[in-house]
């Protein structure tokens, strides 16, 4: 189900350097639950691409399966998109990138898509240092199948059925650091002032750029006791009256100064602890980034911001020593060695 968006544009809309209005970067109307954190991330992507002056047709957006993976329909309608199979977006992105190194590749995934079924592909695309931006919209649960715990749910986090999660969470940012990702960041869907610059930095980064974005699920991870949830006490009875009921919520936003830790009080009274990286943080030190993530975890805090960047990175094309032009522009004159070469091969086989 898709809705048409109004064509009306604000008369004061300004074009970016490549001649596009911000509205040119929009997608179709979202069919996610109202108040879903993912929509804020879509908005941040639109803003980042507009501000970065990316020509929409020069970007390819790719995803797997899940709520997060539906979002590429909701941004950048003028870009080619590929909604692939569950957990396998990285391989599609790898092939696409190998075919044309000159486009910008934006992959969108979720915690189910990347931390469970697709963890193998997630890890190997990092190893290869594919030049792409990889955003995980991380809500700790499976939304489309109605709220099962995901592998990023914290120990002790209570799910919708009241069960406490007993299994160790997978920290995708820590994993990315461990596997040699050349850009690692973590953010919060409600923090656009942080997220937009991070996405811009990631899209500009010439290697694999990973952003883990905590993005609460308004519908299935909204119970008290969940570490990735918000819930309205005053709407609680509505939720229990029908499991299909989707409460309308305002998105949570947070605004704070660099270097400050901030406790964000969620709608249900639980607290999301954000720790913005200090201004003197060295983003080039992988070891300290891994240490800081561990430290934050032990304090029950969510560390956000740019965690690590290696600007002098060697992406997959460099590793494979491919020609400068995109492989998809080569034709038989470049690719077919001809009958003379074949005659020599034949001779050698006699």
């Amino acid at each position: 189900m898709t809705f048409a968006k109004p064509k009306f544009r604000h008369p004061k809309s300004t074009k970016n350097k490549v001649g596009y209005l911000k509205s040119d970067y929009l997608g179709t109307v979202s069919t996610l639950c109202a108040g879903c954190g993912h929509d804020s991330i879509s908005g941040a992507i639109v803003q980042a691409c507009y501000e970065l002056d990316i020509e929409p047709h020069k970007l390819a957006k790719l995803s797997g399966i899940g709520c997060s993976s539906k979002t590429p329909a909701y941004f950048l309608s003028n870009s080619h998109g590929f909604n692939s199979v569950h957990g396998r977006m990285p391989s599609i992105a790898t092939g696409a990138n190998l075919a044309n190194k000159n486009l910008t590749y934006l992959g969108v995934s979720g915690d189910g898509d990347s931390a469970s079924i697709g963890i193998g592909q997630f890890m190997h695309v990092i190893r290869r240092n594919l030049n792409m931006t990889y955003i995980v919209m991380n809500n700790g649960c499976y939304g489309l199948t109605k709220g099962q715990d995901s592998a990023t749910a914290d120990v002790g986090s209570i799910n919708k059925t009241g069960m406490s999660n007993e299994y160790e969470p997978i920290d995708l940012a820590a994993l990315a650091l461990e596997l040699g990702s050349s850009f690692v960041a973590r953010s919060f869907s409600g923090d656009k002032t942080q997220l937009v610059p991070l996405i811009k930095a990631a899209l500009s980064h010439p290697g694999f750029a990973f952003i883990d974005v905590i993005s609460p699920c308004v519908t299935f991870n909204n119970n008290v006791g969940s570490t990735k949830s918000y819930d309205f006490v005053r709407e609680h009875m509505e939720v229990t009256s029908s499991i299909d009921f989707v409460p309308h919520k305002d998105e949570i936003t947070v605004d704070y100064q660099p270097g400050h830790r901030m406790d964000v009080e969620l709608h249900d009274g639980s607290v999301l602890k954000l720790d913005k990286l200090a201004p003197n943080w060295n983003p080039f030190d992988r070891n300290s980034a891994i240490g800081q993530l561990q430290l934050a975890k032990s304090r029950n805090e969510v560390l956000t911001g740019l965690l690590f960047i290696d600007e002098n990175t060697k992406d997959l094309h460099k590793k494979l020593n491919t020609v400068d032009v995109p492989l998809n522009t080569l034709n038989h004159t470049n690719l077919c060695p001809g009958q003379d070469a074949l005659d020599k091969i034949n001779d050698n086989l006699r």
Binding site: N78, H80, A96, A99, N102, L320, N328, H332, G338
Partner: protein, 606 residues
């Protein structure tokens, strides 16, 4: 028992001892003598220490299928002496290493035993143990050359050609060869009853394994992206592709590669990369075997439904599960034809020799682009990993690649509204665009979920039905594009037909001669592709009784024919061979003769 240029010789080795090189030189030398050869490796799924055999059928008549019964065994592996000796036909020869005395219990009255002290000769001539091991192989090559009257100069030529890039190895190999040759000439009765003689039956043929030929076809066909995961017996498709690319596809000016090869983390990722690359306008392929195709099933369905070209090489082995990873079968017919969940069917090509591997893998890239769908090349272990004598490769240089219906920016400017899945030409094939082509036109959202003609998400039943029904129109179009079957008609009209595909061809064509000698007339059809073309249907209609010969248990090709044509199963007799060894003409002809005799008796009884 005297026989010239017509016998089967088998080398019984231990794997990991370097015997492959010596055995290869043997087969190539016979070929260079002008005598057709059919070599087969029979090897375990193991690196070192287990028995391995190398069998060469030498056939002046040019029969390239496996033949039952072994005339000569060169026994270098005491572990398998008992079985090796038992496998020899009466009147045959067991050539063995008598450095240690052969126990009396091994002797058979009806075969000849020729002892050559291979290890002792190696120890006497070489001090280094690795050299003793390696040159022992060349010593037995010299011994067998003397026994079958193979001109040692021809073997030397082959050695020189084999080690052209490592010239230091040539002379030491000559020396080892002569050690074995001279010892045998002086101490054994040479030549034996099975011998070779110079002939002219190889023409301009070449000798190559199917996987290397497939890889070369992919290079010539314009594949730029190869993604793969190691699996026997397909691994050498990828490694050969890489080898040929480094030779033929490096830009001379910049030293940069006109190709990208990725060893993926698994088969799922390999085919994902292929789909991504093809979606983005490059020609990409993956090579795997049955277990890999099983893993790729979900993605194959996506490519079918989202209409993305895929070239997939399936080098079949013995299944199910891990099955017989180093043995050959044609047992992935159904699982490849209908791979993935939902209603799917895929184009299959059945090469029967390396020349067709070359042609069909290049063709697969064209067909995949033209039809915007997965195309699977159905090779097998026998074809892929064994060397075959085959026609030389030819390439039509006047032909450009068929990239199919891809719109460029100018063409997009001319269209008012672009519909990715709009059947403009009514052939079931729609126009596609490559990302980055046009600033405002042609972008669309690719998805495996149901979509309408404009690539918009749709759960409407009629949109879905329209889509999947159009894919059937495309299927009809495919029938006009795939290779037609090859026929071999009997001298006179006959109600009997036999059909086969892939490597069964070798034995099947030999069968025609065997049956002819027994006065049985039968028409033959070699199937080259699925979907089945009209010619196949006509063949089925024009015969009363058809033998479907295949190398699997469940008569999978027969099922496909019955299913696709609603064909009368009673008219289709199965001849099935599935022990992992390549099928033989003897097996086929005996089966057909028995079946026809039986039905004759039945009709007489009535």
């Amino acid at each position: 028992m005297y026989s010239v240029n017509d016998f089967v010789i088998r080398f019984a080795n231990v794997n990991g001892t370097g015997s492959a090189s010596a055995n290869g030189i043997f087969a190539k030398s016979i070929f260079r003598l002008g005598v057709p050869i059919a070599p087969k490796n029979i090897f375990p799924s193991n690196i070192q220490g287990l028995p391995t055999w190398y069998e060469v059928r030498i056939s002046e008549k040019g029969y390239l299928g496996r033949r039952d019964g072994i005339d000569i065994v060169v026994g270098v592996n005491p572990q398998t002496y008992a079985d090796d000796i038992a496998s020899i036909k009466s009147g045959g020869y067991f050539v063995y290493d008598n450095s240690k005395r052969l126990h009396d219990s091994f002797f058979r009255e009806d075969i000849h035993f020729v002892g050559v002290p291979m290890m002792k000769l190696a120890m006497d001539n070489y001090t280094d143990s690795r050299k003793q091991q390696l040159f022992k192989n060349i010593i037995y090559l010299g011994a067998i050359s003397a026994l079958i009257d193979l001109d040692i100069e021809i073997v030397k030529e082959t050695i020189a050609k084999t080690f052209a890039r490592k010239p230091k190895l040539i002379v030491p190999n000559y020396e080892a060869l002569e050690i074995g040759y001279n010892y045998t000439k002086e101490n054994c009765n040479c030549p034996i009853d099975f011998r070779v003689r110079k002939s002219d039956k190889t023409g301009d043929s070449i000798v190559i394994d199917g996987n290397a030929a497939t890889a070369l076809g992919l290079v010539y066909g314009g594949a730029t992206v190869g993604a793969w995961y190691p699996i026997t017996p397909s691994t050498s498709v990828a490694s050969s592709f890489e080898k040929y690319c480094h030779k033929l596809r490096v830009d001379k000016e910049t030293g940069k590669n006109n190709f990208a090869i990725v060893q993926a983390e698994d088969e799922l990722s390999a085919i994902g990369m292929v789909i991504g690359a093809n979606w983005n306008g490059a020609r990409a392929f993956t090579a795997t075997s049955g277990p890999g195709v099983s893993l790729m099933n979900e993605f194959i369905g996506l490519a079918y439904f989202a209409e993305i070209p895929v070239t997939l090489i399936n080098v079949q082995r013995g299944g199910p599960s891990t099955g017989m990873p180093t043995r050959s079968q044609q047992a992935d017919i159904i699982s490849s034809a209908y791979a993935s969940h939902g209603d799917t069917k895929h184009v299959l090509l059945f090469p029967s020799n390396p020349t067709e591997c070359f042609q069909f893998s290049a063709l697969a890239l064209d067909l995949a682009d033209r039809l915007q769908t997965p195309v699977i090349v159905m090779s097998d272990l026998d074809l892929g990993m064994n060397e075959h004598m085959t026609a030389p490769f030819k390439w039509d240089e006047t032909k450009a690649y068929d990239k199919g219906k891809v719109l460029n920016a100018e063409e997009l400017d001319e269209i008012e509204v672009f519909g990715r899945y709009l059947d403009v030409d009514k052939d079931g094939i729609t126009y596609r665009t490559i990302p980055g082509t046009h600033p405002t036109k042609g972008s669309y959202f690719t998805r495996g979920t149901s979509h309408n003609e404009y690539a918009k998400y749709s759960e409407a039943g009629d949109d879905y039905v329209k889509k999947v029904d159009r894919l059937l129109i495309k299927w009809e179009t495919a029938k006009k594009l795939v290779p037609k079957p090859r026929f071999e008609n009997a001298a006179s009209k006959t109600p009997y037909g036999m059909l086969f595909f892939g490597t069964t061809n070798y034995a099947a064509y030999e069968t025609l001669d065997l049956l002819g000698e027994n006065g049985i007339q039968i028409d033959a059809m070699s199937i080259k592709a699925f979907p089945f073309t009209t010619e196949i249907f006509e063949f089925l209609e024009n015969h009363e009784r058809i033998f479907v010969i295949e190398q699997n248990r469940d008569a999978q090709m027969r099922s496909l024919i019955i299913n696709e044509y609603n064909y009368d199963p009673k008219k289709l007799d199965s001849i099935l061979h599935y022990d992992g060894t390549p099928i033989t003409a003897h097996y086929i002809s005996t089966s057909i003769s028995k079946a026809l005799n039986k039905s004759e008796k039945q009709s007489q009884a009535l």
